[in-house]
């Protein structure tokens, strides 16, 4: 509209109206841009999905003058829509209905609810206020303007949360792994070391970080190339291929060498990303120890089993082929009987040791009069024994203990038979005393004794003291190991008195009945978990 000098008043009014219209339009456009700005700012200041969705919904309801609404996001694993934010009190249609409204592409202008797809991240629905009946066109235009940005921001927040969760899980795995884990960067320097690595190298994990592999492994690198000729870390980084089964001896800060087997895996994000190598170091010392133990077991058990079997076979063959006179025959039969008893005892010991190793010792606890049990055991053992009857010294009024009678008898038998066997026919003393905290049984002899440095080792399975081995004395090396386990399961201790002078004095302590420290556990933990 242009104005000429002679124009009427209505023409001026027309021009003014036009002016006003243009101004209003420009201001509305600016309002929309400002709303968009505010929404972007809100997206930028939230990093968690749910608070972000709640704030977005609130803002959009404000901008679109909506009475209520909701935001549903697709759950990553199956794409199922999950309500993450809702506002307003009115009844919300079922999700399926909203999705149907979205997918039919029906013109939503007159619908009480409008539904907007947030790309493949989810959907957004807003309800019209009851007085208007529908969301106006400007608001709908605004929603279609911002929905891509909303989808992107919500997707990023979801992704961030997923990554964070995965990182937390992964960290927990790495931090709690029993294998040492190291990450090397492209310069072969450690960027991460878990607590197991700190234990292996006997240093603070933070001190390990930054160290190059040759320093950490204490290799002798070739100066010119700055690494060992066959450097496994360099190889993994260069070839981007995994490497398994590298054997290495790690000498920790404390000077203790540990055998490890190392597996390497390369990691890289994209072809241009920084290259790293993850190393997992498994301590194989325990495996080596177990293998040694197995060898000891086989050597000692095969000898122990073969000897009585050969004896029995010898007696039986003599009886079969030589038809000895009745008195000799009886002697052979007694020999077979004795030897089978010994064999049976040995088999029982092996079974016990196996059970203990598997943590399957079940105690049948009852109140036991220790003095009476000791007397019984001594009496039984004295019947038919060639040796002198042990001297028994029982203090009066001994407290009772809570124990498995048969298992405790087994321990006493083991201590007494050891005293007989290694006592070199010296007198055996059994002394039972009680204090406020313990009932103590001491079984002593004046025999060959145990070398001081082996007083603890003899409680290890299959370990036999060197003076016993030198004398070629038979035995499985299991008795004391089993006995200690049984005593410990009762909350007691079993050891040798280092100050007892010549010979050997075994000391068994049990808590008296009612003592506060009596363990209630009736099952042993597996052998591996014992210190």
């Amino acid at each position: 509209v242009t104005l000429e000098p002679g124009d009427t008043r209505s023409a001026r009014e027309q021009l003014d109206a036009e002016h006003r219209r243009i101004f209003r339009e420009a201001q509305r456009a600016a309002d929309t841009i400002f709303s968009h700005y505010q929404l972007s700012q809100l997206l930028a200041t939230h990093d968690r999905t749910r608070p972000m969705a709640a704030a977005v919904l609130d803002e959009l309801m404000h901008v679109c003058d909506a009475a209520g609404g909701g935001i549903w996001l697709a759950d990553p694993p199956n794409g199922e829509l999950r309500l993450v934010a809702r506002a307003g009190d009115e009844l919300m249609p079922p999700t399926g209905e909203l999705v149907a409204q979205l997918t039919t592409g029906a013109d939503a202008a007159e619908d009480p609810w409008i539904v907007v797809a947030l790309e493949d991240t989810g959907i957004l629905a807003l309800s019209a206020p009851s007085d208007a009946g529908h969301i106006d066109a400007a608001a709908r235009r605004f929603l279609s303007l911002v929905r891509h940005e909303l989808a992107g921001a919500l997707r990023s927040a979801q992704l961030r949360e997923t990554l964070e969760l995965e990182r937390t899980e992964l960290s927990a795995i790495i931090e709690n792994a029993t294998d040492a884990i190291l990450v090397f960067d492209a310069e072969r320097r450690v960027t991460r070391a878990n607590p197991a690595a700190a234990r292996l190298f006997d240093r603070d994990a933070r001190a390990i970080v930054g160290e190059r592999c040759d320093v950490l492994y204490a290799c002798a690198p070739i100066e010119a190339i700055g690494r060992c000729a066959p450097c496994p870390v360099a190889r993994v980084l260069e070839r981007a291929e995994p490497l398994d089964g590298e054997e290495r001896i790690i000498v920790g800060n404390g000077g203790e060498p540990t055998s490890v087997v190392i597996s390497y895996a390369p990691t890289r994000i994209g072809p241009e990303g920084p290259s790293r190598a993850v190393a997992i170091l498994r301590d194989t010392s325990e495996l080596a120890r177990l293998a040694e133990l197995r060898r000891g077991f086989l050597a000692s058990i095969s000898h122990e089993l073969r000897t009585p079997i050969a004896l029995i076979k010898g007696y039986a063959e003599t009886l079969l082929h030589l038809q000895p006179d009745p008195s000799d025959a009886r002697r052979y039969l007694v020999g077979i009987d004795d030897t089978t008893s010994r064999l049976g005892h040995l088999v029982q010991q092996i079974l016990d040791a196996t059970q203990l190793a598997a943590g399957q010792l079940v105690l049948d606890l009852e109140e036991v009069d220790l003095g009476e049990l000791v007397r019984e055991t001594v009496d039984q053992l004295s019947i038919g024994a060639r040796a002198e009857r042990p001297r028994l010294a029982l203090a009066g009024a001994l407290p009772h203990v809570r124990a498995d009678r048969d298992r405790l008898r087994q321990v006493l038998e083991n201590l007494l038979s050891n005293a007989q066997k290694y006592g070199d026919r010296t007198p055996i003393g059994v002394q039972v005393e009680a204090s406020a905290t313990a009932v103590e049984i001491r079984v002593s002899d004046d025999g060959i004794g145990i070398p001081a440095d082996e007083r603890e080792l003899v409680f290890e399975q299959f370990h036999r003291a060197r003076n016993v081995r030198e004398r070629g004395m038979s035995g499985s090396g299991l008795g004391l190991a089993i006995s200690r386990r049984i005593v410990e399961a009762h909350g007691g201790t079993l050891g040798f008195d280092p100050d007892a002078g010549s010979g050997t004095t075994a000391v068994l302590r049990l808590p008296p009945l009612g003592a506060a420290d009596l363990r209630d556990a009736t099952t042993l933990a597996p052998a591996g978990s014992q210190p």
């Binding site: 201001q27 600016a30 309002d31 400002f34 709303s35 700012q41 200041t45 939230h46 704030a55 901008v63």
Partner: protein, 220 residues
Amino acid sequence: MGTSAVPTELSIDAPAVRAYVRRCGEAVRRHADMLTRLDAELGDGDHGDNLRIGFSAVDEVLDAEHPETIGAILSSVGNALVTSVGGASGPLYGAAFIEAGFVARGMERIGVEELATLARAAADALARRGRCRVGDKTIFDALAPAADSLAASAAEHQPIPVALRRAVAAARQGMRSTRPLVARRGLAMRLGERSRGHLDPGAVSCFLMVRALALPAVDE
């Protein structure tokens, strides 16, 4: 360069409006650090700096374009603020000045009645753009009472000095009312309950601009 107090005038002309705008700039510059400090507690800590930059742009535009009418001056101020101020305050104050400028087109001198009309237009535009109401802890909490006060003074045919004094008192009251409020708009929303106990920096800067109306004028 002598000074004369605006309140002694019977009506306000274009040079007086121009002088008012310059006084706004001075007030903002003088208190920019305080505004920024307040904003650091509730928002992103840039309100004072943003307004300082905005009013430098306003000065440049006034110097370069020499808008002659009251409407043109106010529109230029609004446009300069919208295009130069980062954050929400530029578009919000911009909307207020632009709207006032549009309503003021054709006015050569303004009395209390016109002042009330312009203030109402500015407040409505700001509320529309920010989608805010009184009590949301925003600029509007200081601007709306000032506009209401001017409307009341116009109805009572109060002289300019009285009307301005009352408007300043109303804006001060409105600014102070934001302290116990929980923010419902803007970045401070993030803080929720923690936004309580702080003055809204927007309400403070708005009070400063309302107060500039009643300050002694500096002749250009």
